[in-house]
């Protein structure tokens, strides 16, 4: 738009348009400032506050004690366990999702759409219910246990262990890995793969040097989409994990609802938030366009 012809009219028009834009944005803008940005700032403020003897929080005498607590062995163990399980979940999802997405991308259009619909259904289904299904399956007298007993492997006792938690997380977040991987493999330049084969590269060489690097944005996007919710998971470990598998999410909730140590809960939440933001920045830089 050049303002050369009728500058005054154009300028007034432009100003008018800006005002209308702001006016339209305003309701959601104000809502998010009040019910999102402000609460977020308050959490960060609380993380520097002090817990008083009655389980309340004194908003004075600002200090870093709540953060120092992150270095204590109990909290550190929880932190490392959460990280480890989130990484493990991401790797397992990648191992199953990559070949799946590759297969999907090589089907005909009709088959592909149909297969995608059946990935979308679990993606949209109630998360709590999907975790509960595993609780039923893995239970003491559940079908999985009876199956392993019948074929002579003995009772299955993975319920309430980290294995069950990882299983639940993979079950919950596998679609998050499949969809961006599929998107990036599908739009790959397939002639490069043909060229690689024509030039005498083996299948494995082609995969390592051509296919995989080309699909890297999808790998990064999918990994972050699985890693982030796994790290902050609360429902899955509560339903499928046991007392020995406390993860970050449960730890935060306990600090608020039972232990009543809000500054510590707030500091762990703040750390979690910073990790997420960092991961998201990577996502937008490296693979954000694939979703």
């Amino acid at each position: 738009m050049t303002a050369a012809a009728t500058p005054e009219f154009e300028v007034a028009n432009e100003r008018n348009k800006r005002r209308r834009g702001l006016f339209m944005a305003l309701p959601a803008y104000l809502y998010l400032i009040l019910f999102f940005a402000l609460p977020l700032i308050i959490v960060v403020v609380y993380s520097f506050a002090t817990r008083n003897r009655f389980g309340g929080t004194d908003l004075s005498g600002w200090n870093l004690e709540a953060y120092a607590k992150l270095g204590e062995p109990i909290v550190r163990d929880i932190l490392f366990r959460s990280l480890w399980l989130a990484i493990l979940t991401t790797i397992i999802c990648l191992l199953f999702a990559y070949p799946f997405a590759y297969f999907l991308a090589t089907r005909s259009q009709i088959v592909r759409n149909l297969m995608l619909v059946f990935v979308m259904i679990p993606f949209w289904s109630n998360f709590l219910v999907r975790n509960y299904a595993w609780r039923v399956l893995l239970g003491n007298d559940g079908p999985v246990s009876r199956l392993t007993e019948n074929i002579g492997l003995g009772e299955t006792t993975i319920l309430f262990t980290p294995t069950a938690v990882v299983l639940g997380l993979v079950y919950g977040f596998l679609p998050f890995m499949i969809l961006p991987l599929y998107a990036s493999i599908e739009r790959m330049d397939w002639s490069l793969i043909e060229a690689s084969r024509d030039l005498g590269a083996t299948g494995i060489q082609t995969f390592r040097n051509v296919t995989f690097p080309l699909s890297l944005p999808g790998v990064i996007a999918g990994s972050i989409l699985v890693f982030i919710p796994s790290l902050g998971a609360y429902v899955t470990p509560e339903i499928l994990g046991g007392a020995k598998t406390t993860l970050l999410g449960s730890y935060i909730v306990t600090q608020f609802l039972t232990a009543r140590n809000w500054p510590v809960g707030a500091s762990v939440s703040t750390v979690l938030m910073v990790v997420m933001l960092a991961a998201t920045l990577v996502y937008f830089r490296k693979g954000g366009r694939t979703l």
Partner: protein
């Protein structure tokens, strides 16, 4: 991409097919078994003891479940309505206008999508509590706080879906309408709105699903006597499994599947209409 199909050969093809079958079995077997057991006449949750509808009858007669269900539905409808209006306006403002602070707004709009449930739950809890501590405004936790929190995360999802729709549309049709002397409102009502409607419907269905699914945030802002169905069920599960939970779960599952089907239909309309 017509040539893709020829890329797979021999063993690779078999391994990949097998993997795909495994993934689908993994996705659907647990759900299928849960549905099956919800009709099982046995006190144990994971065993088949003949067909019965008793657990569904118990679902219908349990006052606490019914109460939680009604709270869930009311919260979902109201929060969806609010977030669709706010989210659509936000999407229009960002796709069609440049204004002071639009980039900050854009970033603020993305944050609720990124932030983990637990962190958002903590935020809302401290916020509603400190309203009392700081400005002396007593907030009773319950229906209102749940709805306000759900709107806070749904706005973003609605605006992302509507923006995706708007991004693929040129402004020429709206400009043509205005050139033909349609007022701004008429141009919106008869040109823009019909074009973005599939996006709005898709966003609304996503908001409904998210509201009906949420456990963590709701648990933090729910009050005694007013809690949603997922939070109530989550409490039950923590005390132990029961055939009643099986039945409630299947009802919740059916609701989500219905919403997926509707959203796929909306998406189809999205793909097929004028751009």
């Amino acid at each position: 991409m017509a040539g893709n199909a020829q890329q797979l050969r021999g063993n690779t093809r078999w391994v990949l097919s097998l993997n795909a079958v495994l993934v689908y079995v993994f996705f659907y077997a647990p759900i299928a078994l849960l549905i099956l057991y919800s009709f099982s006449d046995d006190q144990l949750v994971g065993r088949w003891g003949g067909f019965t509808l008793d657990w569904y009858r118990a679902f219908g007669q349990n006052d606490e479940v019914q109460n939680a269900l009604s709270v869930s539905i009311r919260v979902a409808l109201i929060s969806t309505l609010l977030s669709v209006v706010l989210g659509t306006m936000a999407a229009l403002s960002l796709e069609r206008f440049r204004f002071r602070g639009n980039r900050i707004f854009d970033a603020l709009l993305y944050l609720p999508v990124i932030i983990p449930d637990v962190t958002m739950a903590v935020m809302m809890l401290i916020f509603f509590t400190s309203l009392d501590d700081i400005i002396g405004l007593q907030v009773t936790k319950g229906f209102t706080t749940i709805t306000l929190s759900h709107v806070a995360f749904s706005i973003s999802f609605v605006s992302i879906v509507v923006r995706a729709r708007l991004a693929g549309m040129s402004e020429t049709l709206e400009e043509a309408a205005q050139d033909l002397y349609a007022s701004r409102w008429q141009a919106f009502r008869f040109v823009t709105l019909p074009l973005i409607l599939p996006g709005i419907v898709g966003g609304a269905l996503l908001a409904l699903t998210l509201s009906l699914d949420d456990v963590v945030i709701t648990q933090f802002v729910a009050g005694p006597g007013s809690t949603t169905l997922p939070v109530y069920v989550f409490g039950l599960i923590r005390r132990g499994v029961s055939p009643l939970i099986n039945a409630v779960s299947v009802v919740m599952l059916a609701a989500s599947v219905l919403l997926v089907v509707l959203s796929l239909v909306a998406q189809r309309a999205r793909g097929g209409s004028v751009t």
